[in-house]
């Protein structure tokens, strides 16, 4: 299995540090509505988690079967979260 180089690991580290700073900076920015703020923060967190999984845990280099073994079960809570958000939105409708 081909693994990423040390240079790539350090690039991912820099990306993770910048994204963390961006997240923290975002919450101090005035004038951002709650909805877009939540969407942005969750989006950045998913990107950061994906970077760790794909590059540090080498999921990028694994076979399709192993990737699916990991990804498919993890879609279940994600789907449940989407249903929860949709249900909450439905209740708030006039």
């Amino acid at each position: 299995m081909a693994h990423a180089s040390r240079r790539l690991y350090l690039a991912i580290f820099v990306a993770l540090a910048i994204l963390t700073a961006l997240e923290v900076g975002l919450i101090y920015l005035p004038g951002i509505a709650r909805g877009p703020m939540i969407a942005a923060l969750v989006g950045v967190a998913i990107v950061k988690a994906s970077l760790v999984g794909l590059f540090f845990m080498h999921l990028r280099d694994e076979t399709r079967a192993l990737k699916l073994t990991v990804a498919v079960p993890l879609m279940t809570p994600g789907l449940y979260a989407v249903i929860l958000v949709a249900e909450a939105g439905w209740r708030l409708l006039p």
Binding site: M1, H3, R6, Y9, L10, I12, F13, L16, A17, T20, E23, V24, L26, I27, R34, M37, I38, L41, V42, V44, A45, K48, A49, V52, G53, F56, M57, H58, E62, T63, A65, L66, T69, V70, P73, L74, T76, P77, Y80, A81, L84, A88
Partner: protein, 196 residues
Amino acid sequence: MTSWPRDEQFGTASSGKIGMWIFLVSDALSFAGLLLAYAILRGGAVLWRHPGEPPLGVNFTAGLTFLLICSSVTMVLGYASALDGRRREASVWLALTALGGVLFLCGQYQEYFGIWSPGLTREGLVLGGSAYASTFYVITSFHGAHVLSGVVFILVTLVRWLRGTATSAQVELLGLFWHFVDLIWILVFTFVYLLP
């Protein structure tokens, strides 16, 4: 490095690696359950943080997050060194990773109980006092237990590595667990500390 016969579906992934991934997925589902419960409780609460309860320290915890990211880098560099057969270098990276974990746990202790300043427990955030307090302590301490397990796992592997009884494949399994701990913290930090 341990060689493993190529499988049609899983390539050269060892049974140990497949087993570790399945364990991590099941563990991730435990965290997902806690985070979903947190979302349901928070979404349905009229008042989330009650008067007298302190806010969470975002800046301090951002530092802990950065520390855990640093420890993930030292872990992956340790694995790269182990794969290249640089035993001494790999040992140093693993030791630094364990140090990162210990510092994270010290940070969590400071946050809960206080070392140089009053912790959340003394500021009025009491387990069982509210859903805000209980979800915070349950989720972060469950993660903290993972960090503690990870530190023990690193130290055991480091001793075995120094004795020459651990392989780079075993360092890779250790790395999977440690990066998972980092990955989960990234999500916990956002959901518990950052979301408005």
